[in-house]
């Protein structure tokens, strides 16, 4: 990341704070465009690329031979074709679940070890956040084509859809409580109707994303986890069928979008 990028970011942040509330949405869109080409996300991509090639774990192996769905070692375009069904694990996997699978199988790391810290913080990002950013960056410009033909892929979509409308948690929310009606806002943030192709495409083509409000790279596993936290439920298991089916449902709704991540978000 160049120094000018940081400066732009700071300037934008000040402009942002001073702007009248009603104008904040469009201000943020302008800002998003401005930093889009020069985002802190780039830093995560670079570190992630190094981690991808780093020999780690009991097998002292890198992740370079990881099969993300396009064959061993192919990273180009892989993120845009996920989630999908994998025969070897007999599961529908999103990018992060598949990266974890490769850590286990190629590097010989235990699931527990590899998942010790799936979500980082501003001071110390997680290994997964770097890796996911790198893998995602290699799909920039690709059409999003999540798996939709295998029975388990169809099942994941249907389960994700059911979950989207399921009222749960202490506050009785479903995903649709906030993301079900057009033109609504929570605080000053526009809420995309994620069951509709248009808003789903805009949202899903830019995750993972550098979130300015957290100063962190955030992934889809985190996004779903954090929605449930705000819904006041217990915590969903990382990489579980619930989370992966939610990601599948949202990504299938966004199919056909041109992938443009990792993005920069509020």
């Amino acid at each position: 990341m160049r120094a000018s990028g940081t400066r732009t970011l700071l300037l934008a942040a000040f402009a942002f704070a001073a702007a009248p509330a009603a104008a904040q949405t469009s201000q943020f869109e302008k800002y998003q465009k401005m930093v889009g080409e020069d985002s802190p996300a780039e830093l995560f991509v670079l570190v992630g690329a190094d981690l991808w090639r780093k020999k780690q774990g009991p097998k002292k192996a890198s992740l370079e031979k990881c099969d993300l769905g396009k064959g061993p070692g192919v990273v180009k375009g892989a993120y845009a074709a996920l989630p999908r069904y994998f025969k070897d694990s007999n599961q529908v996997m999103d990018a992060e679940s598949r990266i974890l699978y490769c850590m286990e199988t190629l590097q010989g790391r235990s699931r527990k070890d590899a998942l010790k810290r799936p979500f980082g913080n501003a001071d110390k990002p997680s290994e997964m956040e770097y890796l996911d950013a790198f893998v995602a960056s290699q799909s920039d410009g690709y059409k999003m084509t999540p798996g939709m033909s295998h029975p388990q892929e169809k099942r994941a979509y249907e389960l994700g859809k059911a979950l989207f409308f399921a009222r749960t948690g202490l506050y009785d929310f479903s995903c649709a409580s906030c993301h079900g009606e057009a033109g609504k806002r929570i605080r000053m943030s526009d809420l995309p109707v994620l069951s509709e192709p248009g808003p789903a495409r805009a949202a899903m083509s830019t995750w993972p994303a550098y979130r300015v409000s957290n100063s962190q790279m955030k992934t889809m596993q985190w996004r779903i986890n954090n929605c449930y936290r705000q819904m006041r439920t217990p915590e969903p298991d990382w990489g579980s069928e619930v989370v992966n089916s939610m990601i599948t449902y949202l990504t299938v709704n966004a199919k056909g979008a041109t992938y443009a991540g990792p993005g920069t978000k509020r």
């Binding site: 009248p20 509330a21 009603a22 007999n90 599961q91 699931r111 029975p151 169809k154 099942r155 249907e158 389960l159 859809k161 059911a162 979950l163 409308f165 399921a166 009222r167 749960t168 948690g169 202490l170 506050y171 009785d172 929310f173 479903s174 649709a176 409580s177 906030c178 079900g180 009606e181 033109g183 609504k184 806002r185 929570i186 605080r187 000053m188 809420l191 449930y228 936290r229 705000q230 006041r232 439920t233 217990p234 915590e235 969903p236 298991d237 990489g239 579980s240 069928e241 619930v242 989370v243």
Partner: protein
């Protein structure tokens, strides 16, 4: 362990689904999968995933419940609210703090500190504040429009205590029923919404 849990679920699905068609998962199956794939964390216990009749009916009807059923459950919800006798007008200044705090009840939060109502997340409230959501209706000048007498107080109190007593599949949480807000906090919110002295009605 996760894999075992998952395989159990997949096996269960195989029993429920015919081999050829991938049907929508049944209501019971979805509920079982939810309970399998979450874990208790901090104050967020697993019992929060047990659907009561309100959550079940709204889930099964995609928030469009049959009118008769909705009416009956709404009446039950209303009857279960313990409404204190006398004035429900608390302190609007305290109410403002509760209305503009979104903290509380999340797995990463300290349960000993009081929760907010997070009203501003969804409602326009008070002319002085500009960062608010639009999921719920504007409450600006609500007291001016509706008065601040006992009937209005009782309405606002019970609505905050349990919004489902009025609209079964409302998006609004049940702040009293769930123990998120105390009786005093809800009275303070009543004052913030209704009182002529509150900035919401200035």
């Amino acid at each position: 362990m996760m894999t075992t849990k998952w395989m159990l679920g997949a096996g269960l699905a195989a029993l429920v689904l015919s081999p050829a068609a991938v049907a929508e998962p049944s209501y019971d199956e979805v509920q079982q999968i939810i309970k399998r794939d979450f874990h208790a964390k901090g104050q967020a216990k697993m019992s929060r995933l047990d659907q009561d009749v309100v959550q079940r009916v709204c889930t099964q009807s995609h928030d469009k419940p049959p009118a008769d059923l909705a009416k009956a459950i709404e009446a039950d919800q209303l009857a279960a609210i313990p409404v204190p006798s006398g004035s429900l007008m608390g302190n609007w200044k305290e109410g403002a703090k509760t209305a503009w705090s979104g903290r509380g009840m999340q797995w990463n939060e300290n349960p000993k500190k009081p929760s907010g109502g997070g009203c501003y997340n969804c409602h326009e409230i008070s002319a002085q504040r500009t960062s608010f959501g639009t999921i719920g209706p504007s409450l600006k000048a609500f007291g001016k429009k509706r008065g601040s007498g006992l009937d209005a107080q009782r309405y606002v109190y019970t609505k905050i205590y349990n919004a489902k007593a009025y609209t079964l599949c409302s998006n609004m949480p049940r702040f009293g029923t769930t123990g998120t807000l105390t009786e005093q906090q809800i009275k303070d919110l009543v004052a913030y919404v209704l009182s002529p002295e509150s900035p919401n009605n200035k």
